[in-house]
Every structure is written in structure tokens, then in C-alpha cells.
């Protein structure tokens, strides 16, 4: 057990899976010699050789298409998008081919696509998005959004072993900011099981990814006002842990759904609708969504701060619900 950053945990997890299973290989733009846009695969080519750490041409469609074929043939490819924003170039391969294959032909497609996502460092509209809800809407894909180093490692292992195509959203703003103890050995974190990040009685915050930490700070801020906040880190959106969310709602009766993705059509709407359908009689206040506004992510640091939900926004939302 050692303290590791979120990025180190991803890197370690990937390395362990490659050592464990020879079918696992990495492909992406500059993942080999350069070690990846964020240095997740730094040193991988030295250890595993160019045939398992493949520098691909500048074509996300080719990378995802190649992974799909390799997975169908029995390999366990791990693709890296330099930024999750670029996955749109591979939409057709991913959505039309990979997601449908298992229903169409009955063959598993055990591939993982790593998607560095999220903003907070002035990356602007093409390098800061959180496109998880677009893929959560596609039957056949799984969507994973780790928030802690331990989960980053364990969920990556589960993604690689999973028979379905898995989109692994790793939040760039957590890469070097978040550090924690991570077990040294191989382990898997199961899909579909939320993690109670913080226990509380008054309000539930349902969230994932970097927003877990925003919620955590906000919860600490309002604690002095006597507001006890429970934070559920969903960890995986497809499948998502409906049971844990409903149980928490039944306890607190007030909910905030928080995400960094934009408001309209964000996955928070799905969660809010499910709460309304299945826990209506347990609600003591309207379900509140806190999300980014429906615009592209701005470059300007000031505007980006206004755009991405901040600790103060969440604290204000918590106080508003507490007073309701």
C-alpha cells in the first residue's frame, strides 16, 4: 500500500493488467515512444514492446475500429483518446459496430477506451468536455467514471476484463491533484456499485468523477450550519446503482444531482427522473440538479470557473434545499 496520484493509479493498474494477461495491449496517439499525452503509458513500450504499446496514426476511427476487430478476435485492447472530446471521430465504430456486435452476432467485444475528460485548466471547448451522457444513452456500452485513485485502478481492471466495450472516463483535473493510498496488488472494483463517499442525514448528493471532490468541500462548508450531507459516488453510470441512490433518498428525502457535464440531457436528468418515478413518496423537496450551463466550455479561466460547478455553487444549493 502506497500513496499514489489518480494518474499513477491508472498507470499502475494498466501495467498490472498487461503483465497479467498477454491479450491486453495499448493503442493510441503517441502512447508509445512519447508515453501518452498525459504520460499514463510512460515506460510501457520499454517493458512490453512496440507490439503491445502501439503508436497509432492520427485517426480515432482507426484506433477504435482496430480495437473492435481485435476484441472480436479475442484480444483485450485498451485504446487511448488523447482527449475524450475526440471520441466523436470514432462514433460510428463505437456506436454502430462495437456497441451492437454482441446483440447482433453474440460475440463479446472486450475493449476499453480510455477517455481523459473534464475541464478546470482552461482547455477550452475541444479539450474539456464530459461526454459521458451521450454514451450512457447507447445500449451496449458501459460507462465508468472513477473519482479516487483506488477506484481508478480497480475500475480499469474491471473494464479490461469486461466482455462489453467500456468507456473509461478519467478526469484530467484529478490526475495529479488527488492522492490516496492504493493497494499494490491486482484487484477489481465491481461495476454498478456506488460508493458512499460521505455519510449524512439531511441531503443526498449524487455525483461522480471530479464533482465528488467539489461536493465533499461543499459538504464540509455547510457542516457548520448543521446540515448533514451524504455523498454518493456512483463510480459507474452504466450500470448505475439505482438501489443505493433510492436507499439514500429514502433516508434524507432531499437530493441534489451534481455533474460537470452540461445540464440538458445530462445523466443527472435520468437519475432525477428515476427518483421521481420510484421514490416520489419519499421526497420532501424537489430534486435539484447542479450542472454546467448549456454552452461549450469557455477558455477564459474566469468564465470557466463560472461555467463548471464550484464548491460555492454546491454549498448554496445545499443551503437552499436545507431551508426548503
Amino acid at each position: 500500500m502506497a500513496e499514489k496520484t489518480y494518474l499513477q493509479a491508472i498507470s499502475d493498474g494498466l501495467r498490472l493488467e498487461m503483465r497479467h494477461d498477454k491479450r491486453v495491449f495499448v493503442i493510441g496517439e503517441d502512447v508509445g515512444v512519447y508515453g501518452g499525452a498525459f504520460k499514463v503509458t510512460l515506460g510501457f513500450q520499454e517493458e512490453f514492446g512496440p507490439w503491445r504499446v502501439i503508436d497509432a496514426p492520427l485517426s480515432e476511427a482507426a484506433i477504435v475500429g482496430g480495437c473492435t476487430g481485435a476484441a472480436i478476435m479475442g484480444m483485450r485492447p485498451v485504446a487511448e483518446m488523447q482527449f475524450s472530446d475526440f471520441i466523436s471521430c470514432a462514433w460510428d465504430q463505437l456506436v454502430t459496430v462495437a456497441a451492437k456486435q454482441r446483440w447482433r452476432a453474440g460475440t463479446p467485444v472486450p475493449m476499453t477506451v480510455r477517455l481523459p475528460s473534464g475541464g478546470g485548466f482552461s482547455g477550452g471547448p475541444f479539450h474539456s468536455q464530459n461526454p459521458e451522457s451521450s454514451f450512457a444513452h447507447i445500449p451496449g456500452l458501459k460507462v465508468v467514471c472513477p473519482a479516487t485513485p483506488e477506484d481508478a485502478k480497480g475500475l480499469l481492471a474491471s473494464a479490461i476484463q469486461d466482455p462489453s466495450p467500456v468507456l473509461y472516463f478519467e478526469h484530467k483535473h484529478l490526475y495529479r491533484r488527488i492522492k490516496a493510498e492504493v493497494p499494490d496488488e491486482r484487484y477489481q472494483t465491481p461495476f454498478g456499485e456506488a460508493r458512499t463517499h460521505r455519510e449524512g442525514d439531511d441531503i443526498t448528493v449524487v455525483t461522480w468523477g471530479a464533482m465528488v471532490w467539489t461536493a465533499d468541500e461543499a459538504a464540509q462548508q455547510v457542516e457548520s450550519d448543521g446540515i448533514s450531507v451524504e455523498i454518493l459516488d456512483l463510480r459507474t453510470l452504466i450500470p448505475w446503482d439505482k438501489k443505493a441512490v433510492l436507499e439514500s433518498v429514502r433516508k434524507t428525502s432531499k437530493v441534489i444531482v451534481l455533474h460537470e457535464d452540461t445540464h440538458t440531457g445530462g445523466f443527472g436528468g435520468e437519475i432525477a427522473a428515476t427518483i421521481a418515478e420510484e421514490a416520489f413518496e419519499d421526497l420532501d423537496a424537489p430534486v435539484k440538479r447542479i450542472a454546467a450551463p448549456d454552452t461549450p466550455v469557455p477558455f477564459s479561466p474566469v468564465l470557466e470557473k463560472a461555467y463548471i460547478p464550484q464548491v460555492g455553487d454546491v454549498a448554496a444549493g445545499l443551503r437552499e434545499l436545507a431551508e426548503y
Binding site: F280, E281, D282, D284, A285, Y324
Partner: protein, 488 residues
């Protein structure tokens, strides 16, 4: 009768379960003189249409509710200024104006309503009843009740109005109601309005018995004059807050009109009856030859001596009551898990109002004590009073069995809906001449022309089995086909 202060006219309580009424007509305009007990307005409720007499003498100073409006029982409808009284300005009358909620609540049980419950001027305290526990500064306003609070309130039988709210705008939060329940907050007895004797006492014990229709006074003794106490238990639970009707848009070629109180009452009762009773209908053919002949004979005598017409309905009512002696469950009731048998017959007669305006079911009390003449008179009386809107709430309550009579329009078969909480209803169909096979004096089958009538009995199969109903109907048919003049 003269008093010096203004007299309020309020929507009277027209029966136990009636919570609102519609003003159908003002008989006096503002500024007109009115004598005490002189009819002031006409109202329509889901039970009865009636006139409301003036509670005092004076001038109609102000009419507060217009024709066509539906308001809760106890709502102030008008103000009458007594002779010599100074007309109070509008500001002066704000003060005593009762909230609708403060009106005397329906007494939970054994109520003996005056015909029109407009308070006598001598009794204004009826409106000064203690305010319902709405919180000291609740001001009777309704605040939003969230789904979870509504559920907890319902599970624990808590009146949300009794809980102090700490949420926005005084809203009762989940925490508030949980704290109330955990601190031993009592379930609110149904219909409770904090009567004065209890006002000083702390919250009632959680075990406070809820008043139910099965009060000792009502059931076991089955008194000979059961009428007022036998208020249908189905009427006991207070009606939930009525939802505001949503406005609907008229399509091309459609016209839209609001439902009046009677129509809403019928709609609710019919639906509830089908949801409650297991309806089955049995049809019997009756050869009415003997009754027809007897009626022709009695008609001139009845009209000359008593001024009343011996209708077929009277014959059938008499024969029905006679048949019930051997088949009493037709006249019984299911109350909770128990069967309530009755040694009296309160016979409801369905009377249609003209123009599809609805129907009303006045009740002939203790009809088992009336012979053919008595029934003919009673039927004529209620029919007359139904048409003239002179029925009182008592007239339409406490029925134990109902007869409906659409045969006058030529109907030959019907499957009527039972009037709750009764278990059977008899449908009297058209009397028509039909060729039937009968036996002549020598025992030969011949075809004869006979005045035939179908009687259809809808019964609640929860209590009355098919064979039982058929045997009752068989006896009813025998009573009619072999009418014994001396017996009836």
C-alpha cells in the same frame, strides 16, 4: 325576532356526508325585505335540493355567493340587517367573518340535523367555534405538503395542520412531522375540531377511539324509529379535499357545462357502488293479471275516499316488503366484517328529475308498517315533494332497500346499480300485453294474452347468493300473481 346585529346566512349542513352546496337561485335581491323563515335562496347538494329560509327578519344587505357557485358548508352566503340595525360597513364585517374551515364540522355521529341548519340569530357562537388547530399563525392558509410528509401523515394518522412547520413559508418538513410523531403526536380523530371541553387538554391519547358508524346507539338495538341513527356508515370518513376541476377545452361541435353537486354526487356514488358490491341481476317475468284487475276495482274507491291513486308501484312495493319477511338478507347490509339484519324496511323510491337533471331517492321510513293504501299515499307524498323540492335531508337518508321504476317509459330489462350501503335494488319494468302459454280450466295448454311485467333484482353477491335471490323473487312473484286482498 328582531336583533340589533347583522345576521349571517351560511351554507347549511344538509346531511352527514354533505360537505358543500351550490346556490341555484336567490329568491331575494340585495336591499329587499325578508321575514324570518321566509325562503331566501335555493341550494342544491349531492343529497337534496332545498330552499333555505331566512334565519331572521330584516333587509338582505349583502349577497356574498352568486348563483351557480359551489361553496363549503358553513360558508357565509349573505348578510341580513335586522330592522333598526345600522348597516355595518364592509370593514366592520371583516372581523367576524368565519373561515370556511371554522364552520361547525359535520358531527361525526348521531346527528339530528334541523331541516335547514341556518343558525338562529340567538346562536352566533356556532360560528365562533374554536379555530381548528392550524397553528397559531397559520391563518388557515394551506401550505404545500410534500409527498413524503403526506405519506408519513397518512401512515401515522396525523393531521398535518397540527404540526408546526419550520420549512420555507412555514411548510411542514419531513423532520417536523417525524419529530411530531416521535414525540407521541396523536392521530387526529376523524372529524375532530377541538371541541371546547377538550380545548384545554393536551393532545389526546394516541388510543383515542375514532368515532365510527357502529356507535352503540346505532346498530345493536335496531330501534323501531331507526331513521336518523342509521346514517350510512359509508358516509363516515370525511371527504378528502376536493380537487379543483381542471378546465377542459371544448372541441368543435361540443359544448361544456360544469357538473352540479347532484351530478357529482351521483357519479361518485355509482362508481363507489360498483367498486364495493359484487353486482348480479336476476330477471323474473310476472303475470300481473290479478293485480291489474284489482287495481281497476280499487281505483275509483281510493280516489274517491282518499284522493290517492293505487299505482302498480304501490302493489309491487307491498308485495316486495312481504317477501322480505322470509328473505331478510335482501334488506340487510354488510358493515365491516358483519352482516346487519334489519327488522324494518326503509324503502327508497328512485325519482327522476326532469330533463336529465339527476335523480333523487326519497325514503319511506318503516314501510313494513304500511298497507297498500299507506304505501300508495307515501309514494304520492314523496313524489310530490321531490318535484317541489320540499324534501328534507332526513327524507333521503337511511334507506335499506330501493325500488326504481323505469318501466313507465317502456323499458323491459335493466341492471340497476345498488344504492350503498344497501345490498339490493328492484327494477320495475314496463307492463305489456304478451301472448303466453297458460292452462285452461281443463288443464290444456293454450295461448293467452296476459299483462306481463319483468322485475329485475340487482343484488350484492357478497351477501346474497343467486339461489337466495331467486327464491326471494319467486315469492315476490307469487305474492303478485295470487294477490290476497285481505292480506294486504
Amino acid at each position: 325576532m328582531a336583533t340589533t346585529s347583522a345576521i349571517d346566512v351560511v351554507m347549511p349542513q344538509m346531511g352527514v356526508s354533505v360537505s358543500e352546496g351550490t346556490i341555484t337561485k336567490w329568491l331575494k335581491a340585495e336591499g329587499e325585505q325578508i321575514a324570518a323563515d321566509e325562503p331566501l335562496l335555493e341550494i342544491s347538494t349531492d343529497k337534496v335540493d332545498t330552499e333555505v329560509p331566512s334565519p331572521g327578519e330584516g333587509v338582505v344587505q349583502q349577497i356574498l355567493v352568486q348563483e351557480g357557485e359551489t361553496v363549503d358548508v358553513g360558508t357565509k352566503l349573505a348578510v341580513i340587517a335586522p330592522p333598526g340595525a345600522e348597516a355595518p360597513g364592509p370593514a366592520a364585517e371583516e372581523t367576524p367573518e368565519p373561515q370556511a374551515e371554522e364552520a361547525p364540522a359535520p358531527a361525526p355521529e348521531t346527528e339530528t340535523e334541523p331541516v335547514a341548519a341556518a343558525p338562529e340569530p340567538a346562536q352566533p357562537p356556532a360560528q365562533a367555534a374554536p379555530a381548528p388547530a392550524n397553528g397559531a399563525d397559520g391563518a388557515g392558509e394551506k401550505t404545500f405538503v410534500s409527498p413524503v410528509v403526506a405519506r408519513i401523515a397518512s401512515e401515522h394518522g396525523v393531521d398535518v395542520g397540527r404540526v408546526e412547520g419550520t420549512g420555507r413559508g412555514g411548510r411542514v418538513t419531513k423532520k417536523d412531522i417525524m419529530a411530531f410523531v416521535e414525540s407521541g403526536g396523536a392521530p387526529a380523530p376523524q372529524g375532530e375540531r377541538a371541541p371546547q371541553e377538550e380545548a384545554a387538554a393536551p393532545a389526546p391519547e394516541p388510543t383515542a377511539p375514532e368515532p365510527t358508524a357502529a356507535e352503540p346507539a346505532a346498530a345493536p338495538e335496531a330501534p323501531p324509529e331507526p331513521a336518523p341513527a342509521a346514517a350510512p356508515p359509508a358516509a363516515a370518513p370525511p371527504a378528502p379535499a376536493k380537487p379543483q376541476p381542471e378546465p377542459v377545452a371544448a372541441g368543435v361541435g361540443e359544448t361544456i357545462e360544469p357538473m352540479n353537486a347532484m351530478r357529482r354526487g351521483i357519479a361518485e356514488h355509482m362508481r363507489r357502488s360498483l367498486d364495493t358490491s359484487a353486482h348480479v341481476t336476476t330477471v323474473f317475468e310476472i303475470d300481473m293479471a290479478k293485480v291489474v284487475a284489482l287495481r281497476e276495482k280499487l281505483k275509483p274507491e281510493y280516489q274517491k275516499s282518499y284522493g290517492v291513486n293505487p299505482t302498480y308501484l304501490a302493489f309491487i312495493a307491498r308485495a316486495t316488503i312481504e317477501a322480505m319477511k322470509n328473505w331478510p338478507w335482501v334488506n340487510a347490509e354488510i358493515r365491516g366484517e358483519q352482516i346487519v339484519r334489519k327488522n324494518y324496511v326503509n324503502l327508497g323510491i328512485a325519482v327522476a328529475l326532469g330533463g336529465g337533471q339527476g335523480l333523487i331517492v326519497p325514503v319511506i321510513k318503516n314501510a313494513e308498517g304500511l298497507n297498500l293504501l299507506g304505501l300508495a299515499r307515501a309514494i304520492a307524498d314523496i313524489a310530490e315533494r321531490s318535484r317541489n323540492k320540499k324534501l328534507t335531508p332526513d327524507d333521503v337518508q337511511g334507506g335499506t332497500f330501493t325500488i326504481t321504476n323505469p318501466g313507465g317509459w317502456g323499458a323491459i330489462i335493466g341492471t340497476p346499480i345498488i344504492s350503498q350501503p344497501q345490498v339490493a335494488i328492484l327494477d320495475v319494468e314496463a307492463l305489456v300485453k304478451r301472448p303466453v302459454v297458460v292452462q285452461d280450466e281443463s288443464g290444456q295448454d293454450v295461448i293467452a294474452i296476459r299483462p306481463m311485467m319483468n322485475l329485475c333484482l340487482s343484488y350484492d353477491h357478497r351477501l346474497v347468493d343467486g339461489a337466495y335471490a331467486a327464491q326471494f323473487m319467486k315469492e315476490l312473484r307469487e305474492n303478485l300473481e295470487s294477490w290476497d286482498e285481505s292480506a294486504y
